[in-house]
């Protein structure tokens, strides 16, 4: 999953980004003003946008308003104002959720995960494909009741595929959603992770779950 944090307060952006990377395994980009943030949100595929309201150049409400004209990405708003009217106005402008500063990082993380889940049409934190269970809350994976240890990157690939279970996911899409700007992207890296996942998940005794659609991408299905 890939998240955009639009926050001008550098230290806060750093903390939120790090927490999302460490706590949820998300790829995180940071924009430090409204104009950059809007541009990045419009030109990349994000699974979630975290938006501060007090932003230089273009304020958060305008960013939200313009973003909503073309995108349905889940938006979580960070605000210091707790007046009802402003929160109602925010939600009516198209925000999906909000947290008040100073917020609890754990709560922020949980809300982010829930928004990502909802954005993918899932309501439970545990994704099931056949006898495979991907628990997005504690990032654990089980197949047929047995726990499977994955590397962080393998998990991220699997989580994305599980959210899109039954659909063909291209390498480009995986790259778009799993890497932020600070990573170098090589499409053959994906192949390495896929083969690693297959080795750990699809042992010979069971039916294969990850299928390669030649020239199109991968599909996770029973």
């Amino acid at each position: 999953m890939r998240v955009l944090v639009i926050e001008d307060e550098q230290r806060l952006a750093q903390n939120v980004a790090r927490s999302l990377r460490e706590g949820a395994g998300y790829a995180v980009d940071v924009a430090s003003d409204g104009e950059d943030g809007l541009f990045m949100a419009q030109s990349n595929e994000y699974d979630l946008v975290i938006l501060d309201l007090m932003l230089p150049k273009l304020d958060g409400r305008s960013v939200l308003h313009r973003l909503r004209q073309s995108s349905s990405v889940p938006v979580l708003v960070l605000t210091a104002r707790d007046e009802k009217e402003s929160i109602v106005a925010l939600l009516n402008t198209g925000a999906d959720d909000y947290v008040l500063k100073p917020f609890d990082l754990g709560e922020l993380l949980a809300r982010c995960k829930a928004l990502v889940r909802r954005g993918k049409g899932q309501s439970l934190p545990v994704l099931k494909v056949g006898n495979l269970e991907v628990n997005t809350a504690d990032r654990s994976v089980q197949r047929d009741g047995k726990r499977i240890e994955l590397t962080a990157m393998e998990y991220r690939v699997l989580e994305y595929l599980a959210f899109r279970a039954g659909a063909v996911v291209s390498k480009t899409e995986l790259l778009e959603h799993l890497y932020d700007f600070s990573w170098e992207r090589f499409s053959n890296v994906i192949e390495v992770y896929i083969s690693g996942l297959r080795r750990k998940l699809d042992d010979t005794a069971q039916a294969r779950l990850i299928h390669t659609m030649r020239g199109q991408g991968y599909i996770l299905r029973n």
């Binding site: 001008d8 307060e9 230290r11 939120v16 927490s19 932003l55 230089p56 917020f103 609890d104 990082l105």
Partner: protein, 492 residues
């Protein structure tokens, strides 16, 4: 202290004054009546005495004898206490006596004509002794005999009349008094009505509704006009102060949220998963650095709060040369100016001095110069011009930075105002520097203003009252050892 009632006091005053007036009136009228009736009584007594005297005649005999026509004596006015009389000749021969004259022995005329009061068995009488010639005389026939008439008449009729007159006057006055008091109470209540209305209006004033609406009767009352005016002025002042405090608290709470959020998230991030000792150390150091920022904001807010409530009175002030003070502030900023290759020129027209606290002024110049240096493009020049017009000192700090937009210009001295927050965030500002400078300058009776046009730089103008004496040594307005020790001396 017992509570006092204006209304009761006024009513008591009116009642007492009316009572005094009534007593005076009744007393005066009784006295006058008494005098009038006594005079009438005296005249009547004299007439009756004369008429008794007129009943003495000479007989036809020779030599003539004095005879008294007793049957012609008028009937007594009071049956119970008839008049008494005695008629004698001057030598003392009794001509006539009323039947009970003997009882009138208490009437002591002392041989002189005139009136006298006496009592007979508890009844007040008034007697008269007078000497008259015998009316019925013929000059050639009779000797010129003089009669002495003593006549006494009871006074109770007169006294009763005096009493009755007193009682009637008293009753009339009492009725008038009651009416007057009732009217006074009614009038007083009505007259004091505007006070009650004013109190009702004042009771409606609250922190959410500061306007005093006292009602038309209050506004039309001459005596209450100064009070309502004073109350309105006081409420205006209170409202301003209250709103200022409320805004300050709201602003401060709002501004504190971000640094608190940063610190909190730093610590929570650290706890998010187990880490190595080095990571914990780095995290805690980061938390401390975030804490520093919070502390700086708190410090700035406290400085502002102090500057806003502080006046220059009761403080030890020095006579400060403004150019020196600017130079001191500039010395601290020299590294920043060097880093950005900014030249700062200070020009002065002679010695310009103001009375102020050295630390306060250095803070003001520091804030203004720092802004100017930061917003001037690298390699630019900040110009400081210090002048005076004989009454006021004027300090202009001009930069050739990007200027301030017309929309932001009126607000830049408001606390926590950040026109374009990217600018101030980069510079680590909280939007308090200009607000603190303004509060400090105004505490010294000065003014601060900004003039700017986009792309043409910004000029901040500070006007301060000139110090009276351009003396070198410190001028102590309120000299005390404790005070002078409280002002830190920090020269750089």
């Amino acid at each position: 202290m017992p509570r006092v009632s204006i209304q009761r006091r006024l009513i008591a005053t009116v009642v007492i004054s009316q009572l005094l007036l009534a007593i005076g009136l009744v007393g005066g009228s009784v006295y006058l009546n008494h005098r009038l009736l006594r005079r009438a009584f005296d005249n009547g007594l004299r007439e009756r005495a004369m008429s008794v005297a007129a009943l003495v005649r000479y007989s036809e005999e020779t030599p003539p004898r004095l005879i008294f026509e007793a049957d012609m004596v008028p009937p007594p006015l009071e049956r119970d206490h008839p008049d008494m009389y005695q008629v004698t000749t001057l030598p003392g021969a009794v001509v006539a006596n009323s039947p009970d004259w003997a009882r009138a022995s208490a009437f002591d005329d002392a041989g002189k004509n005139g009136y006298g009061d006496f009592n007979i068995a508890g009844v007040a009488y008034r007697g008269l002794r007078l000497q008259v010639p015998i009316f019925d005389r013929e000059p050639d026939v009779h000797t010129n005999d003089i009669l002495v008439v003593r006549y006494a008449s009871p006074l109770d009729q007169v006294n009763r009349e005096v009493l009755m007159a007193g009682v009637y006057t008293g009753i009339g006055t009492a009725i008038l008094l009651l009416l007057g008091v009732a009217f006074a109470i009614w009038g007083m209540r009505r007259g004091l009505q505007p006070l009650a209305q004013l109190a009702n209006g004042a009771a409606l004033v609250s922190p959410s509704h500061w306007e005093l609406k006292p009602g038309p009767e209050v506004l039309n009352t001459t005596e209450l006009a100064p009070l309502t005016d004073a109350m309105r002025r006081m409420l205006d002042g209170l409202e301003r102060a209250f709103n200022q405090q409320r805004d300050f608290v709201a602003n401060a709470a709002h501004e504190l949220k971000t640094p608190v959020a940063i610190l909190k998230s730093t610590l929570q991030l650290l706890l998010q998963r187990p880490r190595t000792v080095e990571q914990y150390r780095a995290g805690l150091e980061q938390a401390l650095a975030d804490m520093d920022r919070l502390e700086k904001l708190l410090h700035a807010m406290l400085r502002l709060a102090r500057a806003e409530q502080g006046s220059a009175a009761n403080r030890e002030l020095e006579v400060i040369d403004l150019a020196d003070s600017c130079q001191n502030a500039l010395d601290i900023l020299a590294p920043l100016a060097r880093e950005r290759s900014i030249g700062v020129e200070i020009t002065r027209d002679g010695a310009t001095v103001a009375c102020a606290d050295a630390e306060d002024l250095r803070l003001v110049w520091g804030n203004l110069l720092e802004n100017a240096i930061r917003y001037t493009p690298v390699g630019g020049v900040v110009r400081v011009r210090i002048s005076s017009d004989g009454e006021r000192a004027r300090v202009e700090i001009a930069d050739d930075g990007p200027g301030i937009s017309a929309a932001d210009l009126p607000h830049i001295f408001e606390r926590f105002y950040r026109g374009d927050s990217s600018r101030t965030r980069e510079t680590g500002g909280y939007g308090l520097g200009l607000a603190i400078s303004k509060a400090l300058i105004e505490a010294y009776g000065g003014k601060i203003s900004a003039h700017s046009a986009p792309q043409h730089g910004t000029t901040i103008v500070v006007v301060l009252p000139l110090a009276q004496q351009p003396a070198e040594p410190a001028l102590t307005l309120n000299a005390s050892a404790a005070n002078s020790a409280a002002v830190p001396e920090r020269r750089s």
